[in-house]
Point group: C2
Chain length 457, copies 2
């Protein structure tokens, strides 16, 4: 028996927890293109967004300040689970026989089980402060809905969630968790909104999509004065709030005495990836580190590797501003893979811009490779990951196996953004040998892209 | 908005993690009565237990050493999630309007989501060290099965779990989690064992019980040379391993500058309760503290408040040694409440002995009171508890409300021994108003007690 006590976990004290969020925009060689008003086709201003968001979040959305202070009332709640641990994957490395050192930042320790409370908490906080009574939102797999329900319970806001039909049917425990926190949940498309009734009339929309659920939640917020809307990814202020992840990870890697050569994160809307990588990208831009920064996206919804960089809507009904992003088309309905949180047609405009600048890479990973990696991870590291971060784990394993061939001591940092306690039916399907990789034809991509809105150059 | 940053969480560094387990036996005024051989009716010796347990655990079972060193190979794995946090329940206190200060030690941060890995890890470790190839066990709600499957994955042992039929049917996610860790799961009663075939023939046993599942797992271990058995509660060595909880909590309460007036833990077999309370009971025995120590048991299976103190079997089929304990009778089948981990007919002999010595109290709590408390806890503290610790939360709330009446600043320490991610259907039932309190008639208790084995005084 090996009785060596190894350092698996790097923990920060509460005093070491960052008290600012990091805004990457002022550090980029050029700013990202602005969102456009869907009717006027000119840049949206704060007034356009005011029906949906509190002013403090709108100001963060357009801020060019490098650091934004985290309010005391948010820090107070963050400290329930933050700083989150960074783990060295000794047992996984051993199983792979790799000279690579693999670190993972674990956000599954939050009350909602993912990184999402990093932004749901400040979003609920600012809304409460500015007099909002109720927040509406969409959720796919349910991570975001759970996180917002939790934050609303803490600050005493009502919360109403539209859950993508396919997930609502397949993952009832997520709905129950959201309800345990006191929020209400509707299956989307619902008959509670105009857009839900309209889109729901088409049987092809029966299983729903994030785009449809967003349209429903936005409609209710836009038409009720005391109600606002909260988005769980994509927007600048959401990515901003997640940067606490990367800031902590940087301190923790320094404790381990290591500098990353690879930073790998899964991407749906992009907030987890941005949260982990942006603080390191600052180091890279300023020449202090030179990690490869790689987005792991699902083969069934590969907005970076198969999408186009163009102005498109954030939702299916075309109610949101137009955002310049890598998109598969706002009416692209991805196959119902288990990583519901990655089934979004577009990529955050800020990440899309950074990708265009050549500061990062992207790779698509098929679902069965993800679950093979997840099982190996669970049986060595003891944590059952959510389907979303299995994409990052699979890519980390690809890189670790390359290192095994070359003998290179690469240092891989990845984000384990949530646990898979509500996704075990996916594991069951995989272990029974019944999981298949969905193949999306080029025709389907092309067809969805044909409906991109026309925007003059 | 209240922007005060309050201290919610008390965290120890890894260096402060205890490196010994605490054995209370040498500190008690008298030792607990010994277990008896079921045939010979004389005290069992190490040789009697050798087919089931590795020698190191048998020596711990009968040890009179006050402290037992935790091996390096166990500390290495403990550090994945230990030291676990102690939380001050500020928001719950505020909602209750109580002057009481409520602290909870949270064990749901472990990979299996409960306190169970505190003992599954050393049990797997010692078995591996002594050449065991496979471990068998029973599980109710699934917390213990998950914990043992996790530990077996870490140390490279096979693992076979018999899950109580009612839980197997109602909580498929637990089975899937156990399988994700690489163990196999059987519905109990199964047709894989003699005792399963025999007891399974009676339709009243269709939903199973912990007692039946234990009989099946013990049979397989006893009849296979390279296979041993692991128990998740009740025995001295299991309680011993859990004392790391209370040792840590004592250091953390000292950080908070508080001394507990009430220590409240839920009791099924008793390991969580013992783990939290024994280190404090030492302080009480030696006059340094005087907390009330209260066991919270389910009204449907109240072994301390409704059972008798007598020698009884640990399992239904009568294969285990006889243990002197508070028992409802080894063939008592509790109603299928949601707190599957508390559905055990007996109480740990060591706790039963301490209860007889008058060093602790017990109260039974009905299920609906537990879930009302759980919802209030989830919506204030942000954690959805497993059904088992909701009993302790309900009792803590009872005491906090008493303090509100008297104005007394009581200090309540409780154990939140696991999260409820796999128990959300229970919350759903409660929120739909469909949960009822099971009432057990005195006749049913009396009938089960009529089959107690005869043991000469």
């Amino acid at each position: 028996m090996d009785d060596t006590v190894r350092q698996h976990k790097y923990v920060l004290s509460e005093d070491q927890m960052p008290t600012v969020w990091y805004n990457i925009i002022p550090d980029l060689p050029s700013p990202p293109p602005p969102p456009l008003h869907p009717g006027r086709l000119d840049p949206v201003g704060p007034d356009d967004l005011a029906p949906l968001f509190p002013m403090e979040l709108i100001m963060q959305e357009v801020s060019t300040d490098r650091y934004i202070e985290i309010p005391g009332g948010v820090l107070d709640v963050y400290r329930q689970w933050r700083p989150s641990p960074l783990f060295r994957a000794h047992r996984l490395e051993q199983a792979l026989g790799t000279p690579a050192r693999i670190y993972y930042k674990y956000e599954g320790v939050s009350p909602a089980g993912s990184h999402k409370p990093n932004t749901s908490v400040p979003q609920a906080y600012y809304n409460k402060k500015e007099g909002t009574r109720k927040l509406t939102t969409e959720t796919g797999a349910g991570q975001w809905g759970t996180a917002l329900a939790y934050a609303c319970a803490i600050y005493g806001l009502e919360c109403e969630v539209w859950q993508v039909g396919a997930s609502y049917d397949a993952k009832p425990y997520r709905r129950m968790m959201i309800e345990a926190f006191g929020a209400s949940v509707h299956r989307s498309p619902s008959d509670l909104t105009e857009v839900g009734r309209m889109l729901g009339a088409d049987p092809r929309n029966f299983t729903g999509s994030l785009g449809i659920a967003i349209s429903e939640a936005v409609e209710v917020a836009a038409t009720n004065a005391d109600t606002r809307y909260a988005l769980g990814s994509v927007l600048n202020h959401v990515l901003l709030h997640q940067t606490i992840i990367g800031q902590e990870a940087m301190l923790q890697l320094a404790m381990a005495g290591d500098t990353p050569t690879h930073i790998v994160g899964c991407t749906g809307g992009g907030s987890n990836f941005a949260g982990l990588s942006f603080p390191f990208l600052k180091e890279k831009l300023e020449g202090r580190m030179s990690p490869r920064i790689i987005a792991a996206e699902p083969a069934s919804c590969p907005s970076l590797t198969k999408g186009v960089y163009a102005y498109d809507f954030g939702d299916t009904a075309g109610m949101t501003p137009l955002m310049k992003m890598h998109t598969l088309g706002h009416d692209f309905i991805p196959d119902p893979i288990h990583a519901g949180g990655l089934r979004y047609h577009g990529m955050a405009p800020l990440i899309s811009h950074i990708y265009e600048l050549g500061l990062m890479e992207a790779e698509a990973v098929p679902q069965t490779e993800c679950f093979a990696a997840a099982i190996q991870f669970a049986r060595t590291e003891g944590i059952v990951p959510a389907p979303e971060p299995t994409h990052a784990i699979a890519l980390a394993i690809r890189e670790a196996l390359k290192a095994k061939e070359t003998g290179e001591e690469t240092v891989i940092l990845t984000a384990l953004c949530g646990h898979g306690h509500f996704d075990l039916s996916a594991y069951d399907q995989y272990l029974r040998g019944e999981m298949v990789d969905e193949a999306v034809s080029d025709e389907r991509f092309a067809s969805a892209l044909s409906t991109l809105p026309k925007v003059p150059a």
